[in-house]
């Protein structure tokens, strides 16, 4: 028995979970627990109470949602009449952010909504995700191991905010929108504003993440690429790069999204590089220069395994590979 003692509660709904969070400063939510339980085993986390939300009905789902404004969009769980307030962009240290900040993409409103307690292996094998969110489908096999994906949740990974987490990277790259419930109130926030630092997010202490909404690109020729470097398969990435591009009939880029994970305190989006790609075909040398320039001033992390310079260099290399893969994959689509 390695963790410190704690109380265990299993609330019936989100409101009850939030009330338990309010009542106990040291309480934490658990759903999959595939990160939290190891932290508890090492006593890096010592929650006084675990609030198990894994079995709350209506929090695990994958579904397509249309362009209806979120304020009136029916919700599976909770109070449908609860007002949805956009969260003001927090005044954050811009150094943490890197050189560029990403906003959500226009996807003509269509998106895929994933409930917070949806297991990672469900997303990995979901045909809707494969068809509509190829980038998320691509990274899922890299998330932990099969045995941890069977229990780990999408919301847990996002709420944990590890900059090395693949789901976090995809949320930032595609400009996902996250919804949380805090008491009776629902709030929405852009992924770019949600991730503040390593394992630090904008999620209030008394709130429960409810849903992540990933924009779907309606273009026919969409391709994705993903690469990461780690010490061994499925271990934490030292650097990861993700790219999604859409091409026109001539093979020229109509839009692109490029993200770098694990290199800095938060996932980075290289929006300038993506903008510069528009209207062009893939040219390795030019893309390489643009990516290197974009990463030049980013404060990269350094640790025992990888220095800051290594991370910057490898991030550029992996980004170029991911972009090349995305162009090639998009070009294969008729």
């Amino acid at each position: 028995m390695k963790p410190a003692p704690f109380e265990y509660s299993r609330p019936a709904d989100i409101d009850e979970a939030c009330a338990l969070l309010v009542a106990d400063d040291g309480a934490r939510l658990i759903a999959g627990g595939q990160t939290l339980v190891p932290l508890m085993a090492m006593r890096l986390a010592r929650p006084s109470r675990l609030i198990d939300i894994a079995r709350i009905l209506g929090l695990a789902y994958v579904r397509e949602v249309d362009a209806t404004p979120s304020a009136v969009r029916p919700r599976e769980s909770g109070d449908p009449g609860a007002p949805v307030e956009p969260v003001e962009r927090a005044a954050l240290d811009s150094r943490l952010r890197g050189n560029e900040r990403g906003r959500g993409f226009d996807s003509n409103g269509a998106s895929i909504a994933i409930g917070a307690t949806t297991r990672q292996h469900v997303v990995e094998n979901d045909p809707l995700i494969r068809a509509k969110l190829p980038l998320l489908a691509k990274v899922m096999p890299y998330v932990g191991h099969g045995a941890t994906r069977a229990r780990g949740t999408v919301g847990g990974s996002l709420a944990n905010g590890d900059p090395a987490a693949e789901i976090v990277l995809v949320a930032a790259t595609l400009g996902a929108t996250l919804t949380w419930r805090d008491g009776g109130k629902s709030s929405e926030i852009a992924a770019a504003d949600f991730f503040i630092g390593p394992m630090v997010t904008a999620l209030p202490l008394t709130a429960c993440l409810a849903e992540a909404r990933f924009p779907v690109w309606p273009e026919r020729r969409v391709g994705v690429g993903f690469h990461e470097v780690n010490a061994r398969q499925s271990d934490f990435a030292f650097v990861a790069a993700a790219a999604q591009v859409a091409l026109d009939a001539n093979g020229c880029c109509t839009r692109a999204a490029i993200g770098i994970g694990a290199a800095a305190a938060v996932p980075l989006r290289l929006d300038k590089v993506a903008m510069d790609l528009q209207g062009k075909r893939f040219e390795q040398a030019k893309v390489g220069e643009a990516v290197t320039a974009a990463l030049a001033k980013v404060e990269t992390l350094a640790d025992l395994h990888a220095s800051a310079d290594y991370r910057r260099r490898v991030a550029a290399t992996l980004a170029v590979r991911a972009i090349a893969d995305a162009f090639a994959a998009a070009a294969r689509r008729a």
């Binding site: 390695k2 595939q34 085993a41 090492m42 045995a147 069977a150």
Partner: protein, 162 residues
């Protein structure tokens, strides 16, 4: 706390502290010592059990979270007393073990793989057991054992040849 668990098709009620992992509960309260404690923080895979037929880490789950699931340990895999499952047989035949510490978890992980994919490629077998660490064998005979068991289990449902 009182928890009702269904382990190897038997309902059991145990009294545990909330911080008791499912692994400790299986070993200490239910005396099912086939689930092994290795790292106890989700890295080594030695504690793998089947939860509703899916391989999961019993060290990364508290016993109080495990009610309502069908839990299968290595003790629940054999078809009858004194008999071995095709996977267990194959592990013996190909020497898919040395010290045996990782073996129950390897077999359960392989069992979950084969129940979903009866004809896995070598790559799929390797990927499936990539979360289970073995420090003795170098994995070659473990992969061989799983492939052999898969072949035999596929043959089981073929009509008898005359």
């Amino acid at each position: 706390m009182k928890v009702e668990l269904e382990v190897n098709r038997q309902k059991q009620t145990v009294e545990v502290e909330p911080r008791t992992s499912l692994l400790d509960c299986l070993r200490d309260a239910l005396l099912l010592t086939g689930a092994h404690a290795g790292c106890e923080h989700g890295v080594c895979g030695a504690c793998t059990v089947l939860i509703d037929g899916v391989a999961m880490r019993s060290c990364l789950m508290f016993a109080v979270q495990a009610d309502g699931y069908a839990i299968t340990t290595i003790e629940g895999l054999s078809p009858g007393p004194g008999e071995l499952s095709p996977l267990q047989d194959a592990f013996c035949e190909t020497h898919g073990m040395q010290c045996g510490y990782c073996t129950p978890a390897m077999i359960l992980t392989a069992h979950a793989l084969l129940s979903k994919n009866p004809q896995p490629t070598r790559e799929e077998i390797v990927e499936a057991i990539s979360g289970n660490i073995c420090r003795c064998t170098g994995y070659a005979q473990i992969v061989e054992a799983i492939a052999l068991a898969a072949e035999r289990m596929r043959g089981q449902n073929e009509p008898a040849r005359r």
